[in-house]
C-alpha cells in the first residue's frame, strides 16, 4: 500500500534557526496537505498543494510540491517557540471520498 514517509523523525533547533521537513511517497501523490499538531493537541490543517512544482508561503512557512508529485517539503524560517509540534504531510485523494493518508510526521522542538 501507499507509504508516505517523512524525514527527519525528530528535529531540535535553536530558536531563530531554520527548519525543514521532507515528505516522500512511494507512489504519485494526488494532492499534498500539511497539518500541524501541537503537543497534546489535534492536527490542524495548514495548506494544500495541488500542482506539480507548486510553492506556497504562509508568513515564515514555505511549502513545496515536487515536480514529479512524489515529494514535498515544509521550510520554516527563523523558528519560534510557537512552532513546536509535529508536522504531518498527508496525501489527499480527491478521487476517493476525500480521504487523507497521513505521513509519519516530524516532531520539532525549538530550544529558546
Amino acid at each position: 500500500g501507499q507509504q508516505v514517509m517523512q524525514i527527519p523523525q525528530y528535529q531540535h533547533v535553536q530558536e531563530g534557526e531554520d527548519f525543514t521537513t521532507y515528505c516522500n511517497s512511494s507512489t504519485t501523490l494526488s494532492n499534498i496537505q500539511w497539518y500541524k499538531q501541537r503537543p497534546g493537541g489535534h492536527p490542524v490543517f495548514l495548506i494544500q498543494l495541488v500542482k506539480s512544482g507548486e510553492v506556497k508561503k504562509q508568513k515564515r512557512l514555505t511549502f513545496q510540491f515536487g515536480e514529479a508529485k512524489k515529494n514535498s517539503s515544509l521550510h520554516i524560517t527563523a523558528t519560534q517557540t510557537t512552532d513546536v509540534g509535529t508536522y504531518f504531510c498527508a496525501d489527499f485523494n480527491s478521487g476517493g471520498y476525500q480521504k487523507v493518508t497521513f505521513g509519519t510526521g516530524t516532531k520539532l522542538q525549538v530550544i529558546p
Partner: protein
C-alpha cells in the same frame, strides 16, 4: 470558528467492554471521518462516512468497529469488545464539499485496561 466537538475527552474501559465515542461535526460539512493515533505515532485512517453510509474503511476497521449517524448532528464510533491495543487517541474529523482541509476534533483518549 466552527468546531468539531468530541466527547468524552478521556475514557477508561475494561478489556472486552463496549465503548461509544461521540462526535458532533461542523453542521454544513458532508464528509465525516474517524482517525486514531497511538501515542507518539502517526495519525491512522479508520473510516470515512458520506451520505449516511461508509464510503471507505481501513484494515484496522474490522468487525469490532461500527459507525453511525443516528440523527442530523451526532457521529459515533462504537468498539464492541475493546482490546488493549485499542488504547489510542481517537479523532473525529469533518470536511465540506470542495475540500478545504479536514477540521479535527480535540480527540477522545481511550485507555483499555
Amino acid at each position: 470558528e466552527p468546531e468539531v466537538t468530541q466527547t468524552p475527552s478521556h475514557q477508561v474501559t475494561q478489556m472486552g467492554q463496549e465503548v461509544i465515542l461521540r462526535c458532533v461535526p461542523i453542521s454544513n460539512h458532508l464528509y465525516f471521518y474517524w482517525y486514531r493515533q497511538i501515542l507518539g505515532q502517526k495519525v491512522e485512517f479508520l473510516v470515512s462516512f458520506y451520505n449516511n453510509e461508509i464510503s471507505e474503511k481501513s484494515e484496522i476497521f474490522d468487525d469490532q468497529f461500527s459507525v453511525e449517524r443516528p440523527d442530523g448532528s451526532n457521529f459515533t464510533l462504537k468498539i464492541r469488545s475493546t482490546k488493549l491495543e485499542d488504547s489510542a487517541m481517537y479523532f473525529c474529523a469533518s470536511s465540506e464539499r470542495g475540500f478545504r482541509g479536514y477540521t479535527f476534533g480535540s480527540g477522545t483518549r481511550l485507555t483499555v485496561v
